[in-house]
Amino acid sequence: MKKPSKDNWDDLRDKIIGLGEKSIRKSYYPELQQRLRELEIRNLQLKQEIGERKQTEDALRESEEKYRTVLDSNPDPVVVYDMEGRVIYLNPAFTRVFGWSLEERIGKKIDGFVPEENWPETRMMINKVTVSGESFSGIETRRYTKEGNILDISISGSCYRDHEGNVAASVINLRDITEQKRLEDQLQKARKMEAMGLMAGGVAHDLNNILSGIVSYPELLLMDLPEDSPLRKPIKTIQESGLRAADVVEDLMTIARGVATGKDALNLNTIVTEYLGSAEHRRLERFRAFIDFKTALAPDLLNLSGSPTHINKTLMNLVTNASEAIEGSGTVTISTVNRYIDEPLKGYADVHAGEYVVLNVVDDGSGIMPKDLERIFEPFYTKKVMGRSGTGLGLAVVWNTVQDHDGYINVESSEKGTAFELYFPVTRENVVAEGEEVPLENYLGHGEKILVVDDEERQREIASGILTRIGYDAETVSNGEEAIGYVKEHPVDLIVLDMVMPKGINGRETYEEIIKIRPGQKAVIASGYARTKEVYIAQELGAGKYIKKPYTLAKVGLAVKEELEK
């Protein structure tokens, strides 16, 4: 403040007179006016701000709705967690797959949804998103459903950022891959079986040739040996061992897919009945005296198209296994039933819709452990002691037989027992009458000329040995070209023709050439392999019965006799 002094005296006086003073008496009014103007401006600003905010809110709501629609229509389950890991949103797909509605999960954390053993990894994933803002995808894990089932899940996650760019939530996409994984497992299982089958087939073929000597020679030797020869017993033992080995090889061959020969119309009831009357089953019954074998066969059972030998073997293996599963006393039930599946059944293997005859073999034994159940059909997977009762091929044979018949297997097992269900597609063909058992005398020859064509020397010897023994005039050649040459010079009544001769032309080609020289030439086809396409072609051309190696006296004799008598 300026203090009065001589210098400013007049100025101050003028100020008191006050024409230029800044204050006025009621200047509260300008003050109020100023405030009013400020308020009006502020009011306008506020209105504008409110308008802008509303616009922003509308835009936000619209964008939120858009995102919500996108998430709502996402076919995969989606859940959104806030920064505290609490659920703030989940979509309808989530409810469909996991069972929980938004109301049931909102505000909840991962407990009850994520299995406890998956907590650490889940927390790590959520942290990755919320802390570092990174995303992840395609991580396989597992989640509970509301009912408490566990689903296999492929999980992906990313973060949601607010308008300031800060991470505000994590958006987790959970794809249900339970079905996909199950199919993958099935496929893997099938591939494994196929690979093992391929290997088994290869081994079996080689073994088959080797076994021929052991199986066939004893038969010839025994014919020459006097009844009181001390060699008879050891040779019989060799023969039996050989036959048993041949059985194993036979099983191995079955595992090689597509080998179940002879798809004739047949009835499961017949097979069951015949099996129950067989020597093998009677032996089993003697051995397992405390087991009650029951049957429940559908009287009107439809036919199936298949190989009786394999199905018989399948049944035998199942019944043997069932009885072995029972310690002490128990019951094995064999039943058959017609079943029409109108919706695919998901079981051990998937059963497609269609008409089926079903073979059930059920025991009340101790059951199969779940982890074993996964692998019981694999070749050589056995819980039994090797060499005592099984080869590890029993259920592999069952599996392959069913596969070859376009059928399905379902297995259910618990502590109360195990049930095998075998589904075979129904055929409407009628059952062909089985040939009667033919006694040896019926297939003895009368000196007819037989040419044996085989690239394996031992096979030639066995075949000519058998044929000579039963009264034929047997000659041998070691390949197709030789056979053609021979036939050109010497007419023969019948040719026993090996199909597979890798070094030269094969059996079918040989036969083709031969019938050019000798139209209508009779022939019997022999092979260690299954009845291949080549076999069918040869048979189309006129070749007769197909016999599967190894040769046995009965098989060769019967086939030759039958063909000659045509």
Binding site: M1, R13, K22, S23, K26
Partner: protein, 383 residues
């Protein structure tokens, strides 16, 4: 010489029953809560209670702030502001003499401007006016109810500071002569002489004007004889009203023409000794006239004539002496006989008193420009 001038006065109601209109005016100002600034003397006299009653009957809540001493202090003002804010008041009513009214003015401007009261000292230093202010004077002399003056005692500096601003002119003055009946004789005398000094100083002020002259001279005509009558008949409301009118006229005059050395020196004295303002003025008045006389003798002569002195055929010095005698006679008649020395002023104080008086804004309109030594001499004469 014709000069451009202005005249500032609040709306005022003069007459019996003016006080009762306080509620009407408070309502018109949109009062939600009224701060009633007063002092203990006025409360005892019952006037504060009457104001509160009037407000209450109109349904307007009021709170009393009465921590006001004669010569209101700056810290009292600041305390009042705090109370005003705490109580969320929006209108101020001052009821009392100069002290409550000046304090109320201070509270108003401090509240609005959010500054210390000390920052408004001087002429035209207040930015914004305070909230609505209704003044109800209960003394006839101060004229704070119509003036643009507020005098606040700056205790630490031992000086009374003058705040001169249009912003401290009240919004309305409710002048009810009946309120002055409760004054004792001494206070009546002091305030009455104060009013006379207002009129005399305004008239001789270097900022005088025709309109202020009218009011000043009328006041000078009324006050001396009326004051003596009031002292003789203190309960005569008619006389009190006449005295009140004189005071009002004096107030209108000095509020616009300002004052002079008497007030400048009285402010210095009041800050120094906490003496009654009216008494200070009275003691100093004749000494200042003695000093000023020859600067504006014509005006002083008119004052003398207005006081009823026959100055005809007198020499200048005779006139001067006649006027001074008349003033001295009046002082004695109403009982103000003590000198500054008797009131405790020592010779050694005079230098400091003079220095401060020289810095008072009232000094600038004194008709004769003094230097400090001149003021020291006047003080010495009044010792």
């Amino acid at each position: 010489m014709l000069k451009l001038r202005k005249f500032v006065a609040p709306e005022f109601l003069f007459g019996p029953g003016a006080l009762d209109l306080v509620s009407q005016y408070a309502r018109n100002f949109g009062a939600n809560k009224v701060l009633v600034v007063t002092d203990s003397g006025v409360i005892s006299a019952g006037w504060a209670g009457k104001v509160m009653e009037a407000l209450e009957s109109a349904g307007i809540p009021g709170v009393i702030f009465s921590d006001v001493t004669p010569n209101p202090r700056s810290e009292e003002v600041m305390a009042g502001v705090e109370f005003y804010r705490d109580q969320e008041c929006d209108v101020i009513v001052a009821v009392g003499g100069g002290s409550p009214m000046d304090c109320a003015k201070g509270i108003g401007i401090v509240n609005t401007n959010r500054k210390s009261i000390l920052e408004f000292e001087g002429i035209d230093n207040v930015g914004k006016p305070g909230p609505p202010l209704i003044c109800i004077p209960t003394t006839a002399g101060t004229s704070a109810d119509v003036s643009q003056f507020a005098i606040i005692n700056n205790l630490p500096k031992r000086v009374k500071m003058a705040i001169i601003s249009k912003t401290v002119v009240p919004d309305v003055a409710l002048i009810d002569p009946a309120t002055t009946v409760t004054m004792d004789l001494y206070l009546t005398a002091c305030t009455g002489l104060d009013a006379l000094v207002h009129a005399i100083e305004a008239f001789v002020s270097s900022a005088n004007s025709p309109v202020t002259d009218l009011h000043a001279l009328e006041a000078i005509r009324i006050i001396p004889s009326t004051l003596l009558d009031v002292i003789a008949h203190p309960d005569d409301v008619e006389l009190r009203a006449k005295m009140m009118l004189g005071s009002l006229e004096a107030g209108l005059a000095f509020s616009n023409a300002s004052l002079g050395a008497v007030h400048a020196m009285a402010h210095s004295l009041g800050g120094f000794l906490d003496l009654s303002h009216g008494e200070c003025n009275s003691i100093l008045l004749d000494h200042v006239i003695g000093f000023n006389y020859y600067a504006v003798s014509e005006r002083y002569n008119k004052i003398g004539e207005a006081m009823g002195i026959d100055l005809d055929k007198m020499t200048a010095e005779e006139k001067r002496k006649a006027i001074l005698d008349e003033i001295a006679r009046l002082k004695t008649s109403v009982g103000i006989v003590k000198t500054l020395g008797e009131r405790g002023v020592r010779k050694s104080d005079i230098s400091e008193l003079s220095k401060k008086a020289m810095e008072d804004p009232c000094m600038v309109t004194n008709p004769r420009q003094p230097d400090q030594r001149d003021i020291e001499v006047v003080y010495e004469e009044a010792l």
